[in-house]
Symmetry: C2
Subunit: 237 residues, 2 copies
């Protein structure tokens, strides 16, 4: 089974960011490394819940009711993805709490490490980790059996409101240019922790070297997309 890794929507890019059309049509085959259905659903559902928690913290700490209202919409999109995934777990005949349990310790630690020290850092976390992980899990979803591939893709492919996060981040940097270097550093740190969480979702096959061969170009592309997000904010990746 072939995954079309860059079936691009415009959703993770703000308008005016560099087009990703150069990547269109690039095929990356990760299907061999897609974990079992319940592993996939449990891990991605708990991760989406964590992304929602980060967004709701950003809502609480937002400096204006305008920013709160805008972020609350982004939070609702993330929550809808979480509920779309837990609905698939229930459809499978399983309990979301039970299925998510094995992934809580690792993802809670990821959340702790990426929570950020202030509102701007939290916004960066919301933008960059969700962009990276939604791309990654969508690329893995193609390897799910039966109808799960299409159903999970439909859930993850929904609007993620990234353009609102970009707008708020740009305003924050404009209002306080000294933020830029701190946020650039924070963005670099985030990518490491985010890659670790993504890797933990991959099933290992018997052939370790072949696994690495397949994983490497995927992560190269994920990091390239991360770099474009940073560029779009005027930050050095």
């Amino acid at each position: 089974m072939v995954n079309w890794f860059w079936q691009r929507r415009n959703r993770t890019e703000a308008p005016k960011l560099r087009s990703r059309s150069a990547d269109l049509g690039r095929k990356v085959d990760l299907a061999d490394l897609t974990p079992g259905v319940l592993h996939f659903l449990g891990q991605s559902a708990y991760l989406q819940l964590t992304l929602f928690e980060n967004l709701s913290r950003a809502v609480s700490n937002a400096p204006t009711p305008d920013a709160k209202e805008s972020l609350s919409y982004v939070a609702s999109l993330s929550l809808a993805k979480h509920h779309g995934l837990t609905a698939l777990i229930r459809k499978h005949g399983s309990q979301p709490g039970v299925v998510m349990q094995p992934f809580t310790a690792g993802i809670d630690e990821f959340q702790r490490r990426t929570s950020g020290q202030d509102w701007a850092e939290t916004l960066m976390t919301c933008y960059l980790t969700a962009g990276f992980l939604d791309d990654f899990f969508e690329s893995l979803a193609g390897g799910l059996p039966g109808e799960y591939a299409a159903r999970v893709t439909a859930v993850l492919d929904g609007d993620d409101g990234a353009e609102r996060l970009v707008e708020l981040l740009r305003s924050a940097i404009e209002a306080n240019p000294r933020l830029a270097s701190r946020l650039a550093m924070w963005g670099r740190r985030l990518v490491g922790d985010t890659m670790l969480v993504a890797r933990s979702a991959l099933a290992a096959s018997a052939n370790h070297d072949r696994d690495e061969e397949r994983i490497e170009p995927v992560f190269t592309e994920l990091i390239a997309a991360h770099t474009r997000r940073m560029d779009g904010l005027g930050l050095t990746a």
Copy 2:
């Protein structure tokens, strides 16, 4: 215009709680004291956002993925109410951020005072303040002009997921019976702060004594409903 104060749905009651049918048909006229449309929408929208923030904090602090998942659903209901109200503000041709601004200081202070010291207290806040304030704003909504009365009522009348909060609170008290007296005290304190926020939403007429005459039975009923919520948890109000 007459408000039917206790047009009861079963939504704020857990199954097996005492029926409120005794209150059905009781008429309370608060329409004279309903503030202007934008005042009402701005204040209730910002309040709903605050209730959502409290719920999302409860999601983040929940001890199990099961509790997180259940609470995230309650949070999504509260967020949908907030977005229903901001949609009405936009339909009016106004900006939600601007319209909510005058109410942020008072409501932020309410949120600070009612945040609770741990997860169980936060859950109590989510259950008791949302129950009280949704009832209150629904009773006021009847005094809104034109289509606003029906539209706001439709938004506020939606399911609020209270039965899930009751279930989690009962389990927490069962697991740790010493919680009961602390939560009973917390519930008593909450009602005072919640009443203050509710009163701040009332427009004063020229006749202060008549205002008091109308307000008093409404608050008597709101407090009675609060007492039933406490009873339902096995707590002394």
